[in-house]
Every structure is written in C-alpha cells, then in structure tokens.
C-alpha cells in the first residue's frame, strides 16, 4: 500500500462515526438502513460516510440497487494495522520494558549487581 493510499485510509478512519460503522461491520455484512439505526443521522449522511470508507478501500458494497450490503475489506485494514504496528513499537514496547526493569531491580534490591538478565 502506498503512503498516499494510506493517507486516504487514515483520513477515512479519523472520524468516530466511520470507526463505529467499521466496528459494526466487523460483526458481518449489513445494509445501509441497518447501519444508520444506531446513529442520529439521515440516510444520505450515512451514505456519505460509506462513500468515504469505500473510496479508502475499507469496505465494499454489493451491486444490487436497493439492497447494497456493506462489507469490510480485510486486506486494507491489515495494511493499516501493520503500518501502525511500527509506530506502536516505537514507544509502547520500550516503556513496557522499562516498567519490567524497574520492577525487577526493586524486587531484587541489592542482588541487582549479579548481572541479572532483565531482558525478555
């Protein structure tokens, strides 16, 4: 996935309603009518959000005119998640490890100098 495409995907994800729609779609494909139910917004407003998600490659929609079921597009989400994983590692993991290290040396107290292997 190119960075430009990722930008489109990220701006699609930047909206809480659209994220809620995706979460709903994780339960299975459904219609626009069904998707609109939990939100206090008109069908055209929901359709607009769906268009953004579709354009970003996050969902696909069926061809039938009336019943156009929306469905998650897994590949696209996987790419986003993989990309975020790089970022998550930048701070979450070192901080987790710092936490472990601080806990270990305080538990061990004076035993610390014995070159205990704190890394996991």
């Amino acid at each position: 996935m190119t960075t430009d495409h990722l930008s489109t995907t990220f701006s699609a994800l930047a909206d809480p309603t659209r994220r809620a729609i995706l979460s709903r779609l994780a339960l299975g494909e459904t219609s626009v009518l069904e998707l609109a139910r939990p939100f206090e917004m008109s069908l055209p407003a929901v359709s607009k959000h769906l268009k953004v998600l579709e354009h970003a490659g996050l969902i696909t929609r069926g061809r039938e005119a009336q019943w156009r079921p929306c469905k998650l597009k897994p590949e696209s989400l996987k790419a986003v998640d993989g990309w975020l994983e790089h970022y998550r590692r930048l701070w979450d993991e070192p901080l987790d490890r710092l936490e472990d290290y601080l806990r270990d040396i305080q538990t061990k107290g004076k035993m610390e100098k014995k070159n205990g292997n704190g890394r996991k």
Binding site: T3, L77, D96, I105
Partner: protein, 174 residues
Amino acid sequence: MAMAGNEAKQVGEFEFVISRVFDAPRDLVWKAWTEPERLLKWWGPRDFEILSAKVDLRVGGVFLYHLGSPDGLEIWGKFVYREISPPEKLVYINSFSDPAGGTTRAPFFDGKWPLQILSTVTLTAEDKKTKVTINWLPYSANEIERKTFEEAASSMQQGWSGTLENLTDYLAAP
C-alpha cells in the same frame, strides 16, 4: 542549555506526547534512562536484542545503539544529547544511524519519517512514583516528513489502535 528559536514548537505544529507512571523513585528512573548498563536492560522494542551500545552522557554526546530483531534485521540508532538536567529533564535528538553513527533514514514509512526527532523526557515525582512524559517533535523536518509524523502520531493518540485491534481480531477469526 537554552533552546534555540528553531527548536520551539511552531504554532499549530503537531507534537506527540506520551506519558506513563512508573512505580519507582525518580532517581532510579533517571538512572535507567542515563546509565549505559541500565539502558541496555530495557531500550528498544520487545524481542529486539541490544547487540552493542555506547553512551556519552554530556551535551553534544551520543548514545549509539545497535539492535537486532529475532528475524535477523539489524538497526542502528542514536540520541544526541542537548540538555541533561538530572533528575528531571533529558532532551536529545533521536535518529536512525549507520554503524559509524551517521544519521540515516528510518527503515520504515517509505523514507518519509522525519530524519531527526527532538525528544524531551520529563520526570515528575508523584509520591513514591515517577511520571515520565515524552514529547516528540520533528526536527528540521520537511513538509512530507511532518505530515507522515502527524498522521502516525495522531492515529495513535486518537485511539485508532483499539478499533483496529478489535477489527484485526475479527479478521483473524476463521
């Protein structure tokens, strides 16, 4: 050391901030950030091994580290220290590097990740605990780098990862 004008956060510029409270006294947390043998115990992503590290803790000095991933990928990186105020504040420029310590591009984000990031680590004592706050600001970055940084950082701060984790769980299900 005073901050030069160009290092200050620009109006409207995105800054990444993360903080965590550690159940340890501030002096100890400071040592964990600044003493080589302690840094070696925790710095870097989980599952990465520190293959070597050199710490020269003085303004202008460098912490150069060499990490190895389980699948054999080797990464070099460095901090160049700009302010050292024990036990409360550490400012450094973080970048990826080559084995000789020369600044290089990040091995991810298609070469669009900022070459240098100004990192400020602030340690605040809270009773017997210590709050560590890390501020990240692209340093001398161009427009594309700033944009990449902002997208990545804001995505984490807005909690997209939670949504994505749920969805990824769903995707992983048979």
